[in-house]
Amino acid sequence: MPAHVTPSLPERIATILAALIALAVAAPVISIIMLAIAPADELWPHLIAYVLPQAFRDTALLLIGVGVVALIAGAGTAWLVSLHDFHGRALMLWLLPLPLAIPTYLAAYVYVDLFEPLGLVHTLLMQWLPAADAVELLPRMRSLPGAVGIIGLVLYPYVYLSARTMFQLQSAEFTEAARVLGASRWTVFRRVSLPMARPALAVGLALVSLETLNDIGASEYLGVRTLTVAIFTTWLNRGSLSGAAQLSVFMLVIVALLIVIERRGRRDAEMSSESPRLTPRTPLHGWGNALALIGCGVPVLLGFALPLSYLARQSFRRGLFTQGDAMLWRDAWHSFLFAAIATIVALLLGLIVLLAQRWRRTAWTTLSASVAQTGYALPGLVLALGLLTPVLAIDGALNTIAAWLGRASPGLVMVGSGAAVVIAYVIRFLAVPTGFIKAGFDRIPVDYDDSARSVGASRLRTLRRVQLPLLRPALLGAVIVVFVDCLKELPATLLLRPLNVDTLATSIYQYASRGSFEDGAAAALLIVAASIPPVVWLTRFADMPRGPD
């Protein structure tokens, strides 16, 4: 569209809203930067000499390792279910995203308990071997490789869900052309499907990396000293909030750089097709079917079924449900409420930000879209700390206005109502819908918009009739991820929730910090249970309608 055309009303509104959303997301980041400005002179020589080398090494190895595991499990399974038909595919469709419902720290506890000496696996091995020999066979869970495996296996669904969108939208002509030219199925995957899925894989991998950086519980427990662990040590043991803020900003800059580099590299790789005809799914039989089932089954088994059955066993052994814990259901309701509201809001805001950019690609809208995604780059607790100041400034202002009007003080409205928790979720997870929808938009040629416009369709009508239907897989993927992420979010919920309000995640945490996380198994099961209906329901709609051929 030529630049001199006057923007329409929806375009203007979207631009303004996008800027406001970016501003809201930037607020906690700015308040962390303000904290970081205070001097922490003696700290940095110490960090550089003793902390950062190890922290960088552990962080880099953890991120690379987790990325590789998530990529293999996530992209591999997405390719299998998106482009193939096999017996058991329908079941796999809704099982594959579910490891998302297992919080990383909980997975760490479960794996350590199962595989460490005296655990279930050791006990089984001792049926055939002397105890000492059996110990030798056990994998060392509390180690960097252990952390890579455990975290990778519960986080791969981020890659799976974003890659699935992409594989489905891939136009048939490329793959068919490659097949006609004599390429094997594997070559097509490696040389055509995978490169075309790169934007989506990048989104999924970015989410996996940032979620890994957010983790503190699993890393500390498994003995991995990441940058995030260093931030918390600096804050809590060194009593240096400013030092911790400086480290956080430092980490934010690295994350931003990585994202910029990745985008640069991707610029040349974008392809979209003129043809809307989607790749038909290849039916698999016999061995092919068996291999596909195993390929999908292993990640589901390790990332979901194993931790789930462990939690179920603990719940029954400990009589957690029969004891009847009324609080549990109240906690579940809070979790659901916060997560549902935050998901709806995040999805709307993500769509607005990207529409503003799609409709009018200006420096402002592009900046807004980038800023809107920064919330995810801060660890949850740092984000929550950063949110305290702006959110409570609003509360302070409300109280001042009330006093000025001669009304009684309303108290802390934002924090007291739980709005602060929802705001934290939205800011933290906005990168998910933004990333997913962006990847979805990238697959829709701008020509479509222009053709719709040229026959007189308005912006909003084009959105409703053309874009939203094509974005459906991306939107549904985002809903699953955000909703489940909110359900298991811990650090921001802990710090920002109102008095007397617990969620399932904070309830599990309370048991875990007493050293008996098994007593929180019932709450953990409820997180999983709450995640299943949206996943099942949404996967029913997640298959793109086959193309109009």
Binding site: V413, G416, L494
Partner: protein, 337 residues
Amino acid sequence: MSPSRTLAASLFLLAATASAFAADEVNVYTYRETKLMQPLFDAFSKASGIKVNVISASSGLEQRIKAEGANSPADVLLTVDIGRIDDAVQAGISQPLKSDVLEKAVPAQYRDPAGHWAGISMRARVFYVSKERVKQDAITYDELADPKWKGKICIRSGQHIYNNALFAAYVAKHGEAKAEEWLKGLKANLAQKPSGGDRETARDVAAGKCDIGIGNTYYWALMNDKDADKKPWADATRVVLPTFVGGGTHVNLSGVLLTKHAPNKANGIKLIEWLAGDTAQQIYADANYEYPVKAGIAINPTIASFGKLNPDPLSIAQIAASRKAASALVDKVGFDN
């Protein structure tokens, strides 16, 4: 009603219940999990008619109270270690409390001379040793650096608040140079990279990975009394109350303080004084397996079976002042690497 309406209405209800504070209430921010504190709060409410509203978190409560400022609903802050008490006082969110009840109940060593905080229960940081492989009865903290324990010690991260306080006590006693030597020696004796929690150290000892695990008293008692799955770990170990050479056993405090802008100040004081009273102290001893700070309260039999506790005389303020140095030393000797 449409789903969005229902959600909006529910959120409003949530807001209404959260902000409808009646007169006879007290608001507690706690680092000690609500589930563990609930029996105490219930007993307090029953005795006083005052409703207790609670929020618990693992870190950052001082920052929240500070940001809430004069509007903060917080009356009382409860912590599980001396580090957080120190942070709270440094953040300027406490107010001094002059109370005869507290002065009578809590020994001077365990409260702030200016009245900004008081300890209400204690736990000792002790050794879980292998029944089979360790015959020695008296073991000192200093001895952990002795090469005779090479490859025989298990411990969680040196930066964990409980270890941070233990190491800070060593720094306060012997200075940084000696503490560095000691930490190096201890590091050299570790059977594995520091990881897991206190429970895992007991498990590692039981599994034969190491002979001495370092952990808090109540974790062992919980494994022994309350968790059939973990009972074998407790059974394979015994608890030794270690001492510093020429000193006593390192204890850490659960502390309490009255916030600067406490809106229900009178109720806050009532709760704090009640926590130092006989009923609450007995609950701390029995339900939480901690040492009561008040003299004359019966210690739980499992905890008592460890032997008579002789707490180290070092003041809490001295330990708190050495926390940073201890944390820096842990980095310097690469304790967690």
